[in-house]
Every structure is written in C-alpha cells, then in structure tokens.
Symmetry: C2
Subunit: 478 residues, 2 copies
Amino acid sequence: MSQRVKIKALLQSQQTEIDVTVKGWVRTFRNNQFIALNDGSTNNNIQVVVDFENTDAALLKRITTGAAISVTGKLVASLGKGQTVEIKATEIEILGDSDPEKYPLQPKKHSLEFLREIAHLRFRTNTFGAIFRVRNSLAFAVHQFFQERGFVYLHTPVITASDAEGAGETFHVTNFDLDNIPKTDTGEIDFKQDFFGRPTNLTVSGQLEGELGAMALSDVYTFGPTFRAENSNTTRHLAEFWMIEPEVAFNDLADNMDLAEDMLKYVIRYALDKNADDIEFLTQRLQEEEKQKPQNERSEMTLLEKLQFCLNNDFERLTYTEAIDILKESTPNKKKKFQYPVEGWGTDLQSEHERYLVEKHFKKPVILTDYPKEIKAFYMRQNDDGKTVGAMDILFPGIGEIIGGSQREERLDKLEQRMDEMGIPKDELWWYLDTRRFGGCPHSGFGLGFERLVLFVTGMGNIRDVIPFPRFPKNAEF
Amino acid sequence: MSQRVKIKALLQSQQTEIDVTVKGWVRTFRNNQFIALNDGSTNNNIQVVVDFENTDAALLKRITTGAAISVTGKLVASLGKGQTVEIKATEIEILGDSDPEKYPLQPKKHSLEFLREIAHLRFRTNTFGAIFRVRNSLAFAVHQFFQERGFVYLHTPVITASDAEGAGETFHVTNFDLDNIPKTDTGEIDFKQDFFGRPTNLTVSGQLEGELGAMALSDVYTFGPTFRAENSNTTRHLAEFWMIEPEVAFNDLADNMDLAEDMLKYVIRYALDKNADDIEFLTQRLQEEEKQKPQNERSEMTLLEKLQFCLNNDFERLTYTEAIDILKESTPNKKKKFQYPVEGWGTDLQSEHERYLVEKHFKKPVILTDYPKEIKAFYMRQNDDGKTVGAMDILFPGIGEIIGGSQREERLDKLEQRMDEMGIPKDELWWYLDTRRFGGCPHSGFGLGFERLVLFVTGMGNIRDVIPFPRFPKNAEF
C-alpha cells in the first residue's frame, strides 16, 4: 500500500475505504484541516483531510502552498461538493518545504506575463498544467494518426548547410571562437576550419529532406524543431517552434487536403477525449478572460464549441482566385474596414482577410488552393494556367493559417526553371534535384506549426504560453 | 479500383483475382517480363508480370531500376517461389524515369560508405528501408510506452543560454554577421546586440528543464535533438543525435532502473512484433557481414537471438564497486589483455570493461550503480558514504552504455556545495535551484541516446547509418 497512486486514478476509483499513498504538491491548506493536493496527473486536486488535533503543530506549519508532501490514509466518500472521494490522512510527510514568504506562486490569480517570467514554476498552475497536458495529447495523437496509416517518422537534420528557403532568417551554427574567427589569406572567413567545414545554420523546415524519404518510403512525416531568426515580437511567432511535415508520394493536391483535414480532426478529437477536464477548464478560463472585453470583441462560440464545430464541418475548399472575388465584394472591403484593402489578384492575403473568410463568410475552416506562383515557394507544382501553383493553406478561426502545403513540382525542367527565376542555388540542392532525375513522381505534403495547433485547442492568446520555454528576441531564459 | 494499395497490404491479401493499382519504384526488371516493385511499405517486393508481347517496346525500355511506375492489373496467386501473390499487369504508366546509365544505385551490393555519400537515395535500398522502418517503430514505441504510463511529453528548448553541462563542447547559435561582430567600447563581443541578447548554444540535454516539468507534472519525458561539438570521428558519436530523457518525481534509483529496463524491453518487443521481416533481413545481413570476419570475432548470437535474449533476461544489477572487483580479478585484466588495466577504485570504465562485464562475465545486460562522484555530473544524488552518487548506467552487448541516469540531488545545500566544488555557475541555474527551494522532492531520470538503441536493434556497426542524414566533423551534407 505504500506504492504511490496517481491522483487521476484515485479520483476515478470505484473503491473506497482502502489505504492509499499519494504524493504531490500542496495547492492550498484551509483551516489547518483541508489540503488541496495536486500531482500533475489531472487538473483536479484531491482533498486531504488532516486530523489537526492529533498532528504535530510544527508539521502543520510546514504544509504550505507549493510544498511537496507524501500522504498515507484512507480513501473515503466525500461529503464536500465538487468531489466524490477524499483522503483521511493517517500520515503526512514533508518531502520538500516551500517558504510561503518567498514562494512566487501565491494561491491567487497571477497574470500570464508574470508567469512567463517564472516559466520554471508555471507548470504548477491550473492553466499551465492543462495546457501542457493538452499539448502532450496533441503531440501523441499526431504520431498515432500517422502510424495508423503506415507513415514512417523521419528525423530530418536540425543543422543544415542549405539555406535555400530561409534566406536571411536563419540562425548561424558555428564552433568558432567568436572572438577569433580564422580568416583565409584573402581575408574571408575560413569556414573550412569550422566544425562542419562550411557555413551551417538551423533548419527552417525538414520538407526538402522529407521529400527524399518519401521518394523511397512513400509516406513519411517529420516532427521536430524548426527555427526563424525573425525579429518579430508578436503573439504568433517564436524563434524556435515545432513543425509536423508529412510528405506523401503519389498524392495530388486533393489527397493532400484530405490528409490534412483528417489529421486535424483526428488530433482535436483525441484531445477532446483524453483531456475533457483540461479543455473544460480552459473553456471556462477563456470565458472569464473574454468578460474583460467589450461585447463585440467576444467570441460567438466557447472554446469547446469551436473545437466541436471544427470536427462537425467539412472544411470549405475554394481557390485563391475565388477568395479574392469574395473579399473584393465583401462589406468590410467596400466600407474600407480592412487595414489592407483587397484590390486585385496577386497580393498575399493578410490575417484580417483570412479571418473574414473563416469567421464571417463561411463560418468554418477554409482551405484555399492555387495561389499565385509569385507569392509561393519554388518547389510548388506549377498549374497549367502559367500563373498559379498547386498550393493549399488551411485557415482556422482565431488563428488564420494553421497549415501550408502543396503538391510539389516533380518535373525537373519546370523545377529548375523556377529555381533560376527565384535565384535558388541549384548546386546546393543537387540532392533535391536528383530525386527528380531518378524515379521522381507526383507527391504532396504540408507543414503544421505545432504551437499554432496548441494555441487553437487551448484557446490561449499568446504562442509563448503554449511551449514550455519560449524563445523570442532577447529571451533564451531557462 | 484506381485507388493505390500499398504493397505490404497486397502481400498479406487473402483475396486474389481482384483488380488493383500499385505505385512504387522498380528494383529490378528481368527478361522484359518480371518487375520487382517496392513502395517502402515493406522490405518485400511485389512481382509484376508484364505481358511483354502486347506492351509497347518504348515503354518496356523505360522500366528501369529506380523508375517510379504505376501498375494496374489483377492480383493472382503466384507459382514462383518466395511469394504467394503477384500482379498480372494490364496497364503500366511511367511516373518518373531513371536513366540506368546515370542512376547511382545499381542492382548490386554497394558499400555502406558509398551509400553514406548518397544518403538521399539510400532509403531505396533493402538495408536502409529496413533500418528506417525499425527506427520509426522504436520512436513510436517510446512515445506509446510513456503515454500508457501517464507521462507528459515535454519539448525542452534546443537553443539555450546555459552551458552548465556541456562546457566547451557546445555549438554557438548566433544571428551576428560573422564578418562583422559588434563590439563594446571595451572591445568585447556585444552580445546584447545578438538575437537573444546573450550568448546562446545548442542544448546538450533537456534534463534540467525536464526536472522543472517533473516538479509539477510528476512524470515527464523529452524526445528531441541534442548536440555535441566534439571533434570525434568514431562509429559511436554524432554531432546531432536524438535523446529520450524521462524524469519522474518521487522515483528513487531502484524505481528508475525498473522504468529503464521496462522501457527498453517494451520498445524492443514492439519492433520485433511490428518489423519481423525487417529484423529478419537485418539478421541475415549481419550474418553475411560477419562471415568476412575471423571466426573468433564473430558474434555468438545472431541479431534476432540477441534481441530476444535482452527480453528474456532480468538485467544484472550491481554497484560500480562490485564491478571493479570483478574486473580486477578477471582473466583479461590479469593477463594484461585490457588496453586500460583496471587497477583501483575511482577510474571511469572503458568500453572494453563494460563489454567484458556484459558479454563475457554476466552474459546479459548489466546495470551498474553508485559510481564515484568525481566521474559523474553535479546533479546526481550524493550517497551517505560521501564517495559515491546514486547513478545508474545500463550496459548492452556490442554497444556498451546505452542509458545513463541517476537519482537527482534534491537537497539544496548538498547540491549547491557540489556545484561550488565543480565550478558550476549557480547564478546561471537560479531556476534549477528554485525547484529545490520550493517543494523539491526525491526524483530520478535517465537519458537514452536514441541512435544507440537503433544501432543495437538493427545490428548496424556505424551510428552514421541509423540516422537519415548524419552530422559529424566536416559533414553537413543534405
């Protein structure tokens, strides 16, 4: 009986009047009698009832918010509201004290900004416990979805020598002493002496390497960290974030859209099943937060409703060109309410336009296809119209673009021509071009920014709150 | 019927005389009649029988090794040996040609060294198809193992500002123009102007951040890339590799060993179940390779036997001190056969010693515990003897150390004292120390180098062959 039982299991226990041991952290201690104990297995605390008359006063004093304790006692039916069972403690041991004068997490509401500065402790709050359990479920659901379909998980490299995609926005990786960088006779940096013998940087995407795998294993996906050295301090960008990039041989753009829609629905459903309590908590949290906003800025749907809405609707599929027509004719455009007026075909869509389509016009997730080639990457398959490429972006309420993908250009001549036009160095990407030389085939893939997905499912407003230790300009703490 | 079916499913089909479409890459084409087609879903090819008399000669010519094709036809029972079904083709479409004069992968045996130089194409060989399918299964099994036990998957940061563990062996990450690094008035590098406002590097371990999560969520694990700028060109080291690091609150060293042993057995069993064909192929491959070696250097067990042996035996647990006694008295030590003679207590064990214990003395996996504190990290829990720490290393046949772990020092005073002794900067790790200040508790964890595990399960000899695109000194290709 001294084996620790997790609180999640105890709260679901059908048996009472049994001896149990739980270990966790004190959330609150009321009246020298009621401990709310949490061990991270669930957002719900178990109530521990202390026999304070027969407990040493010195021990009672050490039962403070944040302290780690071990409790042995009897699991009994609870008369209190909000819980079906509680523990009548027979033995309490302090495993780690927490000085209430110094402990930064007081049993009150802290701002998200403050909690970001103590990210090493924010796991201990209801909000962040829920967020990171939901994040966990989403990550596992991604793997399970692809594994069930026979995909191979590929670890593509983090350190790369090719900078084809991220021109100017990549972090350098070097082993040089930055105070003493070796130079050649002609005064240039002697990269031959660096660790990899050439300039290297952190990857911005595993897609190109993923395609190499798909040209042999058919169905692959990556799930790894990617990086952008973009100096943008927004609620939507991180310098280090996780991406999921499936790549499938023989898939065309329609297959690609089906795969992406199936995947999003699968992982959201998984989180709703596994984390019902957490999502209910986050739904309430968001409602509280929205009460602070003016009526017209509040969401029409609760978080839970929004998630279910995504599951219950087919995503609307239309072309970029059709979307431009809708936007041009839209009321906000005519009334000049858009910050960026929609005038003609060819410009990239702004977040306000994406959200209008999703939230106002279609009122469901939207997949836009066939964008102008000028605003998309070199590897996207050129359509016969000579103007557009087989791209697809999935737009979500509140988030905007959550997935970007395309059918890839498998025709060597077309690909090389586009690389020349866009100034992509073909010699650096000889291996990428090789897959078009030898047994290339139609194939498609997409990228999902994992933190965008977690933002959506948790209803949080700032991407820095859905990754344990966010990296952004001037911040690499912890 | 035009929906593509994967070859793995077809080969297991109970039905014949049905119309099917398969897509894949030509491995061989014999007698203008028999195509061995592979799509990466399995190591086994499906035989496609071509009606060459009624097929256009120009098309037949394009069915070359490496070409991507689509085949529609009837699935029929096969009379040939080694297969139960084959496809009588009614329609063949070339999706991507492969010029046999130029295609680097000829239908013959290539050396692993050569294949490493064309890592973008080696996925298309039997050996690497098998390796990366096994790698995939092991990765997923790791997730499933921890998820079944209620662990939370944590993404710890890749870019970090703390260099506590990896002194001198970390890669710098910077956004500076390396040709023009800004300096302060006193001539020092002005890191305030760098992206993160301070020097940053690539992580060597997610453990310290993992501990922060465990002090709230109880059971967490990481699975992410880690980096060493070690200039070592060996078959055992990579500059970029993936690590799995569970961290569990309230676990002592014995719990930690149980968890590690359970995990290793679980993931090996999973791969044996899921990848029976691949492991059989790799077992044969290894036997062929070993035939080139002198008799006394060959393994006593086949790969398959070695894997089953790990499943069927309890790992031997003993202390470092006991191991030293065994090694001192061992025949190779007395006969001076060890390159590094074992003389006294306190020195680190070499690979030859570890392998002697595993392969010769105990003939099973070994867990060594309670190492001298001088040869272990600052965060390991100090034993009462004042000399040793609660470390544990798991040693595997052929591999040596596959897991390193410990109970962590949860006592603030002991931890600070050890950090002072070892020159670890306490101010940099203020957040780590905070977890000992506020509700710290006994806890344990370990690190598993994922590529070492894949090496073991695939029976490969060089770690560069078990990761898609290896990073090592002077190499960051692809």
